[in-house]
Symmetry: C2
DNA sequence: ACTGTTCTGTAACCAATGTTACTGCCAGCT
DNA sequence: AGCTGGCAGTAACATTGGTTACAGAACAGT
């Protein structure tokens, strides 16, 4: 597969891993957002600490937050939007692993934080995203100090493992047309929009197949009245 | 696929999840084994606690320790042997996920312990196995109390995630003949024996393919001088 | 309107894998 | 020896998915 990927916006363009002092306006927003998404999960003291050390970031769609081989210096808590987690092999072949959504975090990042190991995956924003970055030193401190934090971290791992399982099920047990339809449904759900703005090539990368195959199967799904095809977007029918 | 699996020995036959008081002989053995395998990892106080509440179990090959839909009441620490972790879909189609080896534990069990959720996978002994069972209540207690325990648990999750990644890589990026050869090498390594005692059907289940395909590819590998085929076992050549 | 680019549709073909069916072989048993 | 059940080998065929090649449609910029 020698088709070149369209260029990513790399994290370097958006200094998301730097910890600048945030403005009072941001602090207020963050307080509210955090309460909404993580309030029921964390105890008051922990929320305060997060406010203390966390940095609020707004990141547009398509930005690479973490790349394969990179080291991780901060941990994201998702307020809104979604992050796409992608695996790549030596030949540059790609495969979508799963999406991380709000109220959650990336367990891969967790392990990287603890092990100080290199990332095995690429993380990039699927939609516009708001998140709070936490310096990784806090990971272990909070794990000792707060039961709710431990619960959260364990739960994140649990979710990630389950999503990996779902991915394996999908690759191992489903045919390409089923995988394709599932992906489209997932994308529509995440973006809260039945119009899926993407190209066939883009989908082919995510499913690790070829553009021709995707076009072929999409046409079949259109004939089965599951969707309608357009240039640069697909309209998924509600069922 | 309507071929019936050969019957498993179910856990019920071996009451591994019950905590009977162990004999002094077992306690001594356990002390030694634990020190050898987990000594460098855990602090003294934790090792003592493990000795206090853990139960040593010897389990023969082919026993189901945990099945899909079952609840988990104890957590295993592997002293020797190997556990095979298997996924199954609604149609009863199987797929080998990975092996758990000594000095390790099953992260799936971990999540089940914490979440009190049902198991999503089946765990069964690949070889004769010795392990120490820990009541799950200790999980959270120790996570708060011992840094080394937290490290161990996080590391287990990390390993499991990486093994799931490796599995995904294998299914997504490799062809069946490569997957087959990798599986055989893995089996030889785990059993420390180049003689792999299994049937083609058994392998077919693990790779989620058909017996005919396995036979075909094994024949190809034999012609490529990677192995020799025999009834009920395969001799893998050292390379 | 003209041009180059990107995206999509489609045909023809190929390779890998899955399926069905049948055969012979080996081991254990009587 | 003869029978039986499980295992392995193989042919023939079907299906799925991957590859190559090409054409037309949509779009952006000039």
């Amino acid at each position: 597969m020698c088709i070149l990927r369209k260029p990513f916006f790399f994290g370097a363009l958006f200094p998301i891993f730097e910890f600048n002092r945030h403005s009072p306006r941001d602090t207020n927003t963050m307080q509210q957002e955090l309460k909404e998404n993580f309030g029921p999960l964390f105890e008051k003291a922990l929320l305060d600490e997060i406010l203390e050390v966390g940095t609020l970031k707004h990141i547009p769609e398509g930005v690479v937050l973490m790349d394969i081989g990179g080291y991780v210096k901060a941990m994201p808590l998702l307020i809104s939007g979604a992050i796409k987690i992608v695996r790549e092999d030596e030949q540059g072949d790609e495969l979508l692993l799963y999406f991380v959504e709000k109220g959650s975090t990336c367990a891969m990042t967790l392990t990287c934080c603890l092990g100080e190991t290199k990332s095995e995956i690429r993380a990039l924003t699927e939609t516009d995203t708001v998140l709070v970055m936490i310096p990784i030193e806090k990971m272990e401190t909070w794990a000792a100090k707060y039961k709710s934090w431990r619960k959260f971290v364990f739960k994140s791992y649990h979710n990630r493992l389950n999503e990996m399982l779902a991915t394996i099920d999908s690759i191992a047990f489903l045919k390409m047309d089923e995988r394709l339809l599932n992906l489209l449904k997932e994308k529509a759900r995440i973006a809260k929009d039945q119009h899926i703005r993407t190209t066939h090539q883009e989908i082919a990368f995510e499913l690790h197949t070829s553009r021709v195959v995707v076009s072929r199967l999409l046409k079949k799904l259109e004939n089965l009245n599951e969707l309608t095809l357009h240039r640069n977007y697909i309209l998924l029918k509600k069922k």
